[in-house]
């Protein structure tokens, strides 16, 4: 049984990146005409679309909170997005779990008390999957929320890091993710440096955790710069249009 060599003798990874290198991130906001806010994010070969509807009237009266808005996150994976076609049902536990992670990540950041008795829907559509879905979704959701003009205390930037063979590596792709590598996803508020989500589902030696976390933290800071640039460019463009 041949195993994929994840780190070449020169210290390069399967896709030619250095261990501390992110994949290319391209993003745009306001891509959908129907949604109140939307964003499209390409993280390497992972492509995610996020749409925000709301704040609007809550769908179920029973769920209404009198002093704040409720967040609702729905996940949708396009059947053609993965290598193997898989029909994912709406009740797939894995998807529900991911949606719940995203929801809990944003709950402390969105100032929900400004929108009492209403609901904010965040819809995430994965169009192409190449590892790091959760981080891409959180980053896209941040941009879509900003685009929708929903009040937040800070950006939320997420990044993954893992331990590949002999050293920590940033931003694992699908091949690295699926070959028994331990992977940590963290979501950070870049201004305060607070961490809103840490998620790991595999074994990692305690001594290595510190390195991996600090690397992921660095990744978050970098992603913040990329996202922030897109948001600022968009805001400038809007300001220019309004001035005319």
């Amino acid at each position: 049984m041949s195993r994929v060599e994840l780190l070449s003798p020169e210290g390069l990874r399967v896709d030619g990146r250095r261990p501390e290198e992110l994949r290319k991130i391209t993003s745009t906001t306001a891509v959908l005409s129907q949604a109140d806010g939307s964003a499209y994010l390409e993280h390497g070969n992972t492509k995610v679309l996020a749409a925000v509807y709301g704040p609007r009237e809550a769908r179920h009266r029973a769920l209404v909170l009198h002093d704040r808005a409720i967040l609702n996150v729905e996940f949708n994976v396009a059947p053609f997005s993965t290598g193997e076609r898989r029909r994912r049902t709406k009740n797939d536990k894995r998807l529900l779990e991911m949606a719940s992670f995203v929801k809990q990540t944003f709950e402390p950041v969105v100032i929900t008390t400004l929108y009492p008795r209403s609901q904010i829907d965040i819809y995430l559509q994965i169009i192409q999957h190449d590892g790091g879905t959760l981080q891409a979704c959180i980053n896209a959701a941040t941009m879509a929320l900003i685009d929708a003009g929903i009040a937040m205390t800070d950006y939320v930037c997420a990044c993954t890091a893992g331990w590949v063979e002999r050293e920590p590596a940033l931003d694992l792709n699908h091949i690295e993710e699926s070959s028994d590598t331990s992977e940590v996803t963290i979501a950070m508020l870049p201004k305060s440096g607070k961490v809103t989500l840490v998620q790991m589902e595999s074994r990692l030696h305690v001594d290595k955790l510190e390195d991996v976390l600090s690397l992921a933290g660095k990744g978050c800071k970098h992603i913040h710069q990329v996202i922030d640039k897109t948001i600022r460019d968009r805001a400038e463009e809007l300001a220019r249009k309004m001035a005319v």
Partner: protein, 293 residues
């Protein structure tokens, strides 16, 4: 009292309480709002009655799929991906593969859609596309045979609607045809009950095949508006919701009709149908140009 009544006729007309802004009027009386435009021969978005929205087709946008396309018609955006999987053939058709289209109208695309199982509309569109592909023999299912009675290709054609602004059928069918047009599947080999698909080398004509499509379908949809039945080409969401019926014409490149459906709103005249057919022919020509890679 007398003095007040003499003043009323003039003031009521100009009274601010009875004048709305155009957008308020649209919300209160959407049909009447449309009627005002249509009677002048234009539509609220500036199109003429037979005008289609700007349309773009992008090929091969999804690298994880065997074939893919993204189609935009005005504010409607759909992504179509085709995945090929090895499957067992049916007993009554041992040499035929499968072609399974599915349209997903996810809540991301419009606030009108709710999360949950596929809506009636999504299923209707899926079935319409399934039928038109099957009935007009777009693809010979025997081409998908790997080993008779043992293994065939199953083509999953999934359309995800990303942004919904009306006329989903035209957008979905265009994306399906464009995606089928750029499908490339690695050559399989069948040996003792195991199908092997060649590995990692780059795709080329030697190690993969494309689909032979018998015809390229293109469709045009018209919304029927009002009792005198005006046909509005390529209706958007707002127009769909005030219209009483719909005519959809699907044509192939020879101009033959592959499917025709008219639903809702009373009887439409043969003259109106002929008029729609004329516009559909022009539209088909335009779409074929766009679908060429």
């Amino acid at each position: 009292m007398a003095s007040a009544s003499t003043a009323t006729p003039a003031t009521t007309a100009a009274s601010p309480a009875f004048t709305f802004s155009a957008s308020t009027f649209q919300k209160l009386h959407p049909a009447e709002y449309f009627r005002k435009f249509v009677s002048q021969g234009v539509r609220p978005d500036g199109r003429l009655l037979n005008g289609f929205r700007p349309t773009t087709v992008h090929h091969g946008v999804i690298t994880t799929a065997n074939g893919s396309a993204m189609v935009r018609i005005g504010g409607t955006t759909v992504v179509c991906g085709v995945k090929a999987e090895v499957a067992e053939p049916r007993l009554d058709a041992p040499d035929q593969g499968y072609l399974v289209p599915n349209v997903d109208l996810s809540p991301i695309s419009s606030s009108a859609f709710r999360p949950g199982p596929p809506s009636e509309q999504a299923q209707v569109v899926s079935e319409a596309i399934h039928r038109v592909l099957k009935e007009s023999n777009v693809l010979d299912l025997k081409d998908l045979c790997i080993e008779e009675g043992k293994a065939v290709w199953s083509l999953w054609v999934d359309v995800v609607c990303v942004s919904y602004d009306g006329n989903i059928y035209d957008a979905a069918l265009t994306s399906v045809m464009a995606a089928l047009g750029n499908v490339r599947i690695r050559n399989p080999t069948y040996e003792e009950g195991i199908v092997k698909v060649s590995g990692a080398e780059d795709l080329s004509d030697d190690n993969s095949f494309t689909l032979k499509l018998a015809r390229t379908l293109s469709s045009a949809t018209f919304a029927l508006f009002d009792t005198n039945l005006v046909a509005l080409a390529d209706p958007n969401f707002a127009e769909e919701s005030v219209s009483q019926g719909r005519i959809t014409i699907t044509l192939d490149e020879a101009g033959q009709i592959c499917a025709l459906s008219k639903i809702g709103a009373g009887a439409s005249s043969p003259a109106l149908l002929r008029q729609c057919l004329g516009h559909a022919r022009e539209r088909a020509q335009e779409l074929r140009q766009l679908m060429k890679q």
